[in-house]
Every structure is written in structure tokens, then in C-alpha cells.
Amino acid sequence: MELPIFYILAAIIIVSALFVVTLRNIFHSALMLILCFFGVAGLYVTLHADFLAAVQVLIYVGAVTILMIFAVMLTQQLTGRKIQQLNDQPLPAALIILSLLILLIVSITRTGFEIADNLEPMPTVGTIGKAFMTTYVLPFEIVSVVLLVALIGAIVIARRE
């Protein structure tokens, strides 16, 4: 049962990701990005990472992409204009992508994935919460501060006058 679902989700993710980069209307691209994120959330569900799936939808769909759409709608240069996909430096870009691809393939093939059989799905919320408040409390707080700084910075830049 899980395998066909995985293939369906993978197909959704790959196709929508392709559309994100190939569609010429940036609003459509943003919508496809939402679909892509939703597919990723589906993958999390099949991996029993329910909390992560919900947060994926909440943060990426509910906040990040909405903000991107907002920016698209409000910005003068982007509305109604067709976006050009090719710029004048395709060769360096291709090289960088190729090296990244090789790196990924190598690291994936060299990692020995352990497959746990018949693991009962466990609620992950409590575990994550405890980890945040005990083992990873310092990184957690630092990230919070960084985000706060980013927020204030955005407001300062966006304010006119």
C-alpha cells in the first residue's frame, strides 16, 4: 500500500518542481511550488513524521509561499510579465549543477540506509518538544533570536521615509 502512494507523491513532487522552473508566469510557478511542498508533506506522512508534515504545510504553504505570492502581486515589475528562463550564463550554471548532482549521488550511494521493519508509529510531538527544551535548547533559542532579528530587519527595510 505504501509503495504506490510513495510513487504517486514522488511524481507530484517532481512534476510540480519541474513546472516551478519552466512555467513562464511567476504566479503559476508559486502555485506549483505550493503543490510541491504539499507533496513533500505527504512524504513525511508516509514516514510517520506527522508533526513535521503538519508544520511543513503550516510554514511553507501557509506562510512562505503566501508571502511570495504577496510580493509577486504587489511588485510593479513582476505582475503580468513573462519571466525569461534563460540568462547569458548557462555554462557555469550547468557546471555547478553537475558537480552538485555528482556529490548527491555519491553521498546517497555510499550511505547505508537501515530499514526498520514493522515499527509502530509513535507520536512524535512530545519527543520533539522535549528535545527542543533539553538537548537542543541553545540552538533552538539562537534560531529564535535570529528569526526575530530577521523580522525586525525586514520591517525596518520595508518602512519608507
Binding site: L74, T75, Q76, Q77, T79, I157
Partner: protein, 370 residues
């Protein structure tokens, strides 16, 4: 500083109207918007222009009265009154006292009805639907009284040169008294619902401020100027009909914002009710009209006569060349000037405020276009 010019939000033009729920008739406001902020307003009127001034040049004096009904359909009695008053003043026709009293009763009832209609549409503009029907409930009573008297509910053709067309039926006085008894309570009810409602206060206090200097400069009139601290009511300043016989106050407020314009109309309803009450109590017996021949010709001359209509000063400038048709009729209406000042007080407000301000000015488009 960072170069933020490239990230500026886009200003765009929006046509608010001609068919838009909040333009109260057919008016187009061309808005230049920056997001929700209105940067520029250009009113476009004329969609209801019927050229009543031109039509009047081809009708006899008596035939013009029904057209005046259609100038301000929310206050037809007052439009009638302004016209017949002007013609009578020009031709020096003596009107029987009973007719004068009846005119005042009808005009003031119509003022209450008009303010009720305004209250209804204004609350809808603010998104509250229920007070709309509450106000209509009371307006219905007035409409019934008018129907009882002249058989019409909107365009009455009640007044004629030299008097009024019909006497009131005998059921009128008890019904009117009953109505006047309940009206203050009903106005209190609207105040309970709205006046101190925090959302209404948020939406109206300090919004669309019309300073008294600006109001005078733009020739505003009616409740709009009285809300800006100018005590100006033609009923008191230049009494016509029999208004000098009644005891009433002119409510004045001093901030000139939407809330003041709202409050002043509620106060005016109470004052108008007082006038009607006094007029009914003092209603003299006698003729209701002076006989004026059908092919009546006033002598050559001109007149400029103005009255206080619910939406401000309504004036007729009539020139007679001695024939039975007027040479020229110029109609001045309150909405015409009040709409003109909308851009001055509503720019740099949010679009929601624009709707509230437009509503608070109480503009009736046929009155602007004529």
C-alpha cells in the same frame, strides 16, 4: 540608505461605479489607489442627468411641479416646497395659512424620512445590515401617512402654486401623533445600537474631517456644514413658510468628522419631530389653496429663493419673461456642492473610509445631476 525604488508597490486606477453598491445611485469615482490607500479621487457624474432645467423651459409653471419631485426622490416634499415657494415669491401670491402649516408638516416629515433613509444606507456602508431595516420600519410609517394624504409613496406632487393639492384625511392627525410619540424612542434605539458601538466609533471618529473653513470655502450646506461648527440653517436664518412660528433648535457639532455628521442627523430628526408636533397642534382651519388660474402668467421678473432641504440648501432661480412658461430655471442643490468637496476630505484615506465618508455626506445622485 538602500535603494527601495524597485520594490515600490504599484499604484493602480480603479473605477468605483457607476454600478457599485456604495455610490448610492449612479456615480463613478475614479480612484487612484496605492494598495488600500486612496491617493486621488475624481467624481464622474451625469449618469442621471435629465436636464430638468431644459424641460422646465417648455412647461407651464404648474406643470413643472411633478418634475421637482424627481430632483431629490428621497425628499420630494422639500423639492416641491422650494419650487412653489420660489414661484409664489416671484408672483407675490398669498398662500392660506393652513396650506403653509400643511407644507411645513409634510416637509419636516419628509426630512425625517430622508434622514432615516440616510441612516439606513449609511449603516449598510459600514457593514451593519440590521439598522437598515430598523430605519425602514419607521420610514414606512411616514410613507403611509403620505400615501394617505396624496396617494403616492415616493413622488408626491403634493404642493401646488398657491397652496397644497389635498387636505389631510381625518385619520392623519391621530396617526401622526402616534408616530411622533414613538419616534424619539426609536431614535434612542438606533443610538443604543450604534452611537457608542466601539466598531462604529473606530470607523467614524476623526475620519473625513471637514473643517469649518473648508466647509465654507466649498459652499457646503445642510447637516454637513452644521457638523463642522457653522450654525447655518435657512429655516432660522431666512425663515420661509411659517417656520418663524415654531420653536426648535439647530443642532451644531464641531469636529466635522463622519461621527458628527452621523450624530447631527439623529439630532435633527428629533428637532423635526418637535416642529411637526407644534404644527399639528397649531394647525388652523381654512382654505388649503388659493385659486390660481390654469393659464396663469406671472409678470416679468426673476426670483432667487432657497430653502433648507434635508441635504442642504435647495434653491431655485427662476426668470419669467411674462409668458406662461419660465424663461430659465436654475436649480441649486445641496448634494451638488457636497459631492464637490468629497475629494478634498477623502483623499489619503483607506477605501473603507472613503465609503464611510461618501455615505456620511448623504449624496443623492439625481439631485447632483438634475
Amino acid at each position: 540608505m538602500m535603494e527601495t525604488k524597485g520594490l515600490r508597490t504599484e499604484e493602480f486606477m480603479v473605477n468605483m461605479g457607476p454600478q457599485h453598491p456604495s455610490t448610492h445611485g449612479v456615480c463613478k469615482l475614479v480612484l487612484k489607489m496605492d494598495g488600500e490607500l486612496v491617493k486621488e479621487i475624481q467624481p464622474h457624474v451625469g449618469y442621471l442627468h435629465r436636464s430638468i432645467e431644459k424641460i422646465a423651459e417648455n412647461r407651464t409653471y404648474a406643470q413643472i411641479v411633478p418634475f421637482t419631485d424627481r430632483i431629490d426622490y428621497c425628499a420630494s416634499m422639500n423639492s416641491n416646497h422650494a419650487y412653489v415657494e420660489a414661484v409664489e415669491r416671484m408672483a407675490e401670491v398669498e398662500v392660506p395659512e393652513r396650506a403653509q402649516y400643511l407644507r411645513v408638516i409634510m416637509a419636516e416629515l419628509n426630512r425625517i424620512a430622508s434622514h432615516l433613509l440616510w441612516l439606513a444606507t449609511f449603516t449598510i456602508d459600514l457593514g451593519a445590515v440590521t439598522p437598515f431595516l430598523y430605519a425602514f420600519r419607521e420610514r414606512e410609517e411616514i410613507m403611509d401617512m403620505f400615501e394617505m394624504t396624496c396617494g403616492q409613496r415616493l413622488t408626491y406632487n403634493y404642493m401646488k402654486i398657491g397652496g397644497v393639492n389635498w387636505d389631510i384625511p381625518k385619520e392623519f392627525v391621530p396617526k401622526a401623533k402616534q408616530f411622533l410619540k414613538i419616534l424619539p424612542g426609536k431614535v434612542d434605539e438606533y443610538e443604543d445600537l450604534l452611537t457608542n458601538n466601539p466598531i462604529l466609533l473606530y470607523r467614524t471618529k476623526g475620519i473625513g474631517v471637514l473643517s469649518s473653513e473648508k466647509a465654507i470655502e466649498y459652499s457646503a450646506s445642510g447637516p454637513s456644514i452644521r457638523a463642522s461648527g457653522v450654525r447655518w440653517d435657512i429655516r432660522k436664518a431666512e425663515p420661509y413658510a411659517v417656520y418663524d412660528k415654531f420653536d426648535f433648535n439647530i443642532p451644531v457639532r464641531y469636529n466635522g468628522d463622519v461621527w458628527d455628521r452621523y450624530k447631527i442627523r439623529l439630532d435633527e430628526m428629533r428637532e423635526s419631530a418637535k416642529i411637526v408636533e407644534q404644527a399639528i397642534d397649531g394647525l388652523p382651519e381654512g382654505d388649503i389653496a388659493k385659486k390660481v388660474p390654469m393659464t396663469w402668467k406671472p409678470k416679468e421678473g426673476e426670483v432667487f429663493c432657497r430653502i433648507e432641504a434635508p441635504r442642504g440648501e435647495m434653491a431655485y432661480h427662476i426668470i419669467s419673461d411674462g409668458t406662461n412658461k419660465p424663461y430659465r430655471v436654475k436649480i441649486r442643490t445641496g448634494s451638488f456642492c457636497n459631492l464637490q468637496l468629497l475629494p478634498a476630505i477623502a483623499t489619503n484615506h483607506l477605501i473603507a473610509d472613503l465609503v464611510a465618508i461618501f455615505g456620511s455626506l448623504d449624496i443623492v445622485l439625481p439631485e447632483v445631476d438634475r
